[in-house]
C-alpha cells in the first residue's frame, strides 16, 4: 500500500443528503474518484450494516455516494413522521459516529489468477499495438498494481476497479462482441474489469480468470466486495484449466 500521506476524509457536515424517489436517500461524500471519499463511504456502510436502524432496507455504495433504501411505512411510525425527514434526521445523528468508526479500509487483498493472451485474451495484441508496449509489458503492468474495488454493479459480482496504469488505457471495441464469456478480463478507456456473467460486451479482452465471481449459492453472492484490494496474478493455460476444475 502507498505510504504517501492520505487526504482527510470528508466530515459529516460535508456530506450532502438528497432523495432518490420516495424510498431511498443518497449520501454524497464529494466529487471525483478518491481514496478518501471511498474510505468515508466504506466506514458509513460498515457502521449501518452493523447497527441498522429500523426500516433500513439496503445499502448501495458507489464511487461518491452511498444510497440508503428504506421502508417509508416503518420510518413514518404509524403516520407520526414524514418518512424522509425522519430518515435524514437519523442519518445526521449517526454520521459523526459512523465516520469516527472508520477502520483500516482496503487491507483485504484478493488475488485473481488470469491467463493472459491467446484465446483467453484475443485483444491483447490490439492493446499492445494501441499503447506501443510489447504484450509482455502490458501483462506486467496490468498485474503490478493493487486495485481498489470501488463498487460492485452492472451485473452480479462485477467489480468497478480503480488503479489501472494510465499507459494501458484503450478504447472500447467499435462493434461489441455478441457474447463475452464469464471471467473475461478487459480494458475500456481508463477502466479495467472482469465480466461476471456471459454477456454482450465491448471491452478489449486481454485475459480470463478461471475463478467464479458470483454464485447465488454463496452466503455473500459476490466474491469481491467494495473496499477490498485486488491483484491480478498471471497464470498459464495448464493452471487455468486446473483451477477451473476446482471452481466448478
Amino acid at each position: 500500500m502507498s505510504t504517501a500521506p492520505q487526504p482527510p476524509a470528508p466530515r459529516a457536515a460535508d456530506v450532502r443528503l438528497f432523495p432518490l424517489g420516495d424510498a431511498a436517500v443518497v449520501l454524497e461524500f464529494g466529487h471525483g474518484i478518491s481514496p478518501a471519499i471511498h474510505r468515508a463511504i466504506q466506514a458509513v456502510s460498515r457502521y449501518l450494516t452493523e447497527y441498522p436502524f429500523p426500516g433500513l432496507r439496503e445499502l448501495v455504495p458507489a464511487f461518491t455516494t452511498l444510497t440508503v433504501y428504506y421502508d417509508p411505512w416503518v420510518l413514518s411510525e404509524n403516520g407520526r413522521h414524514q418518512p424522509y425527514e425522519r430518515v435524514a434526521e437519523i442519518l445526521h445523528q449517526l454520521l459523526p459516529a459512523a465516520q469516527a468508526a472508520a477502520g483500516e479500509a482496503g487491507t483485504d487483498l484478493v488475488e485473481i489468477p488470469v491467463c493472459y493472451g491467446g484465446e483467453f485474451g484475443p485483444d491483447l495484441a490490439f492493446v499492445a499495438a494501441h499503447t506501443g508496449l510489447p504484450p509482455g509489458e502490458v501483462i506486467a503492468r496490468h498485474s503490478a498494481p493493487d486495485y481498489l474495488v470501488h463498487l460492485i454493479g452492472f451485473a452480479p459480482g462485477f467489480p468497478y476497479l480503480g488503479g489501472l496504469d494510465e499507459r494501458l488505457a484503450a478504447p472500447r471495441k467499435a462493434e461489441p462482441r455478441a457474447l463475452v464469456p464469464a471471467g473475461a478480463v478487459g480494458i475500456a478507456g481508463a477502466q479495467t474489469g472482469i465480466y461476471s456473467l456471459p454477456t454482450p460486451g465491448g471491452w478489449q479482452l486481454i485475459g480470463r480468470t478461471p475463478r467464479r465471481l458470483f454464485s447465488p449459492e454463496w452466503a455473500r453472492p459476490s466474491l469481491l466486495q467494495a473496499g477490498q484490494r485486488l491483484r491480478f496474478v498471471p497464470i498459464d493455460e495448464a493452471e487455468f484449466y486446473h483451477l477451473q476444475q476446482h471452481e466448478h
Partner: protein
C-alpha cells in the same frame, strides 16, 4: 398440491416482492412489476402479502389444477376462464381438482397475477423466490415456465382453508366457485391505456436545459417496443443536458428515468441494474409503479411532477389500504 403447465403463455414467471439486501453484490431486486397487484392477490387467498405467485404477461398460459385450490387473479384483464367460462378477477375463487385456467384477449393492462393459497413452492434463493431471468436463478429453475412444468404449491394457509370451505360449500356440483365480494377500486384499478404517471425531479434534473425540463412534464412519451422487465425505452421530445460532464455510476432503482446521450429516456423497472451512469431526470413515485407496470408498448404516458412529501403521503395511503384489506380478510375468515 400442484399445478400443471399445459401452455406457458408469452412470459410467465414466478415472482414475489423481490430479492432485497444484495444490490451491493450487483444482484438485481427482481420481483413483481406490479407489486400492489401481487400483494392484493396474496391477501385475497389468505397468504402473507410477499408469497410467490405467477406473473403472466399479455398472452396467458393454460394451467390445470391437479388438486383443489384457492386462487385469485389481479392486475391486467387478460380474459381469464375456468373450464372455458369467464371468471371474475380480484376475488378468491375455489377450484376443484382437474379445473383448467386459460386466458383470452388482452383487454387492458400487461401483467396479471395468479396467487394460490399457500404460495408457489419453489426454493428461495438469497431470501426470495423471484425469478432472475438473466442470471438464471430463483423462481422455477431460473427461467420462464414451459409446457410440461409442474409447479408445487404449499398447503393452503388457515385463512385460505376457511375461505375454501365456505366457497366449496356454495359450489354445489360446479367445478369452481367465486366469492361475491372484491376489494374497492383503489386496490384493484382498471389499467388505463394512456396514463399520467406522477414523478419527482431526479438527482440530475437541474442539469437539463429549461426547455427539456418543460418538455418532460408537458409532452407525451410513447412506450416503444423495447419495453420489458428491465425497463421501457420511451420516445418523445429529445432531452438535453446543459453539461457534457460524464457522471460516475451511482444507484438507480425502480422508476428511475435515466437519459442516455441520445436524449430519449429509459424508465427502469423491476429487473433494473443496481447502478448506472446516465443522468437521472426523474423518479416515478412508488404509488404509480403499478400504473407504469400495466402500460403496453405503443401506448403513451405523460409525467406529472409531485413533491417528495406528496409522494410519501400517497405511499402511506396505499399501505393503509393494503393493511386494511389484510385485516378485513383475517377478521372474517381467519381462524
Amino acid at each position: 398440491m400442484s399445478i400443471s403447465v399445459l401452455r406457458p403463455g408469452l412470459l410467465t414467471t414466478v415472482q414475489d416482492l423481490g430479492r432485497h439486501g444484495y444490490q451491493q453484490d450487483g444482484i438485481l431486486v427482481s420481483g413483481a412489476m406490479d407489486a400492489t397487484a401481487l400483494r392484493v392477490a396474496n391477501l385475497l387467498v389468505g397468504n402473507p402479502d410477499h408469497a410467490a405467485v405467477l406473473e403472466i404477461t399479455l398472452l396467458g398460459p393454460r394451467l390445470r389444477f391437479e388438486t383443489d385450490h384457492l386462487i385469485a387473479l389481479t392486475g391486467a384483464h387478460l380474459s381469464p376462464t375456468l373450464n372455458g367460462r369467464p371468471v371474475g378477477m380480484h376475488r378468491p375463487v375455489w377450484v376443484a381438482a382437474g379445473t383448467e385456467l386459460a386466458f383470452g384477449a388482452a383487454v387492458a393492462g400487461s401483467r396479471a397475477y395468479l396467487a394460490v393459497s399457500g404460495g408457489i413452492d419453489v426454493p428461495p434463493v438469497l431470501g426470495s423466490r423471484a425469478t432472475y431471468l438473466r442470471a438464471g436463478f430463483g423462481g422455477f429453475r431460473g427461467r420462464a415456465l414451459r409446457a410440461g412444468d409442474v409447479l408445487f404449491v404449499a398447503g393452503p394457509t388457515p385463512t385460505g382453508q376457511q375461505l375454501m370451505a365456505a366457497l366449496a360449500a356454495s359450489a354445489a356440483s360446479a367445478a369452481w366457485a367465486p366469492a361475491r365480494w372484491t376489494p374497492g377500486p383503489a386496490l384493484c384499478p382498471a389499467p388505463l391505456p394512456n396514463p399520467t404517471i406522477r414523478a419527482m425531479a431526479g438527482p440530475e434534473y437541474e442539469q437539463f436545459t429549461p426547455e427539456s425540463r418543460r418538455a418532460f412534464w408537458q409532452q407525451p412519451f410513447t412506450v416503444t417496443t423495447e419495453a420489458d422487465r428491465m425497463g421501457y425505452r420511451l420516445h418523445g421530445p429529445v432531452l438535453e443536458r446543459q453539461t457534457q460532464v460524464e457522471l460516475l455510476s451511482s444507484a438507480v432503482t425502480f422508476g428511475t428515468v435515466q437519459v442516455p446521450a441520445g436524449g430519449q429516456p429509459i424508465v427502469l423497472m423491476a429487473d433494473h441494474q443496481t447502478t448506472g451512469g446516465y443522468p437521472r431526470m426523474a423518479q416515478v413515485i412508488t404509488a404509480d409503479f403499478s400504473v407504469l407496470a400495466q402500460v403496453r408498448p405503443g401506448q403513451s404516458i405523460r409525467f406529472r411532477e409531485v413533491s417528495l412529501v406528496e409522494a410519501q403521503a400517497l405511499y402511506l395511503a396505499q399501505e393503509r389500504r393494503l393493511r386494511a384489506l389484510q385485516r378485513a380478510v383475517e377478521t372474517v375468515f381467519g381462524s
